[in-house]
Symmetry: C2
Subunit: 188 residues, 2 copies
DNA sequence: ACTCCTTAGAGACGGTACGTCTCTTACGGT
DNA sequence: ACCGTAAGAGACGTACCGTCTCTAAGGAGT
């Protein structure tokens, strides 16, 4: 019997968790099923992750890269923001609402981080746009900066059907661009 | 042994569920505990609600009135919107993140309804403001209309700490009012 | 090459809560 | 007075949790 170890074993475990996630969703993913799929015992999982949520998060990180490390830079504010929203929507689509709802409920400590990260992405995009002279200032309230990403996240969380493409453009054209273009400096 | 029936029994059941909810949160609320607290059996619960989520939703509806039936009308757009946001925040505070996260995960069919309702509330408020001449038009894109309530909901879902009062005013002053005041008619 | 030590692989175990089923009996309707 | 519905109570089988135990594989050290 060949016995896996170290990084090799860990990779197998995370792949097994990911496959279970795709097949059963979060709610019906069990530690037993992940262990069985990886041809090992539960203890091997519990030795590395304290619970389902941690395992699933690790599996997601193992699979998908971070948006933070891949900020769009197209030369157009509109396209940059749209690019970020598309990345978010794409990722959400592969994960499915199940997973996000589940993690929200079971890993609340992680939740604030998820959306704090996005603030810096938006700040980068807006700063570039201001430097290009596309908008008057990059000194915007945080809630303006994160409005499009937060609204998108909200919509993905609550909508039952997949989002139409028009949702993304509406968020940019109806909400974000009006807020950053014509307005004077920050109010508070 | 006095045996409860009909509306009386139902009230007792919903009260028991509500009390359990307040005491244990959603994740640790069990049908067994609710039944025990109401001095009855589980079957009495399952005869009325198919699962935990339905029971909890019924208990919430039984306790708290609808925001829809109580649209603020202060004569000021800003105060009306703030009033709605305060109602939402207050309700969320009594329920706790647990409950909302849990329902989001276990009652996804209900989720879209929750925020669709708010659209009509905001439409009413905006219409009144337009009639008063406070804003140029009440013909706004849905995503502008629901931006403040959706952003608040998002923030409540993801924030770990209770929201500061400034969160509400920022949503109104930095995001909503700029969108509805200075802009021309809808773009799309 | 031999020994030691960690830990993989496998499964048993007790615990909790689910949702169903069964049984007796209170009580409202006719 | 009778009958049918459903309350009250709890047993039951199932699922999965997280812990614990045991054997033996296979690196590390000498």
């Amino acid at each position: 019997m060949e016995r896996r170890r170290g990084a090799e074993l860990e990779g197998v475990l995370l792949d097994a968790a990911w496959d279970e996630l795709m097949e059963s969703g979060y709610a019906r993913l069990t530690m037993e099923a992940v262990a069985a799929r990886a041809h090992t015992g539960k203890q091997v999982l519990y030795r590395r992750w304290r619970n389902r949520a941690e395992l699933v998060i690790a599996a997601m990180r193992h699979r998908t890269g971070s948006i933070v490390e891949n900020v769009p830079d197209t030369g157009s504010l509109r396209d940059d923001v749209l690019g970020v929203l598309r990345l978010m929507a794409e990722r959400f689509a592969t994960l499915g609402p199940d997973v996000v709802h589940g993690l929200l409920a079971e890993a609340p400590d992680l939740d604030p981080e998820i959306y704090t990260r996005m603030t810096s992405v938006m700040a980068t995009i807006v700063k570039r746009a201001a430097e290009r002279g596309e908008i008057p200032t990059d000194d915007l309230p945080d809630r303006v900066l994160t409005a499009p990403t937060n609204l998108l996240r909200h919509e993905m969380l609550f909508a039952r059907d997949p989002l139409p493409a028009s949702a993304l453009t509406s968020l940019v054209d109806d909400v974000f661009l009006p807020l950053v273009s014509g307005r004077p400096g920050r109010s508070g």
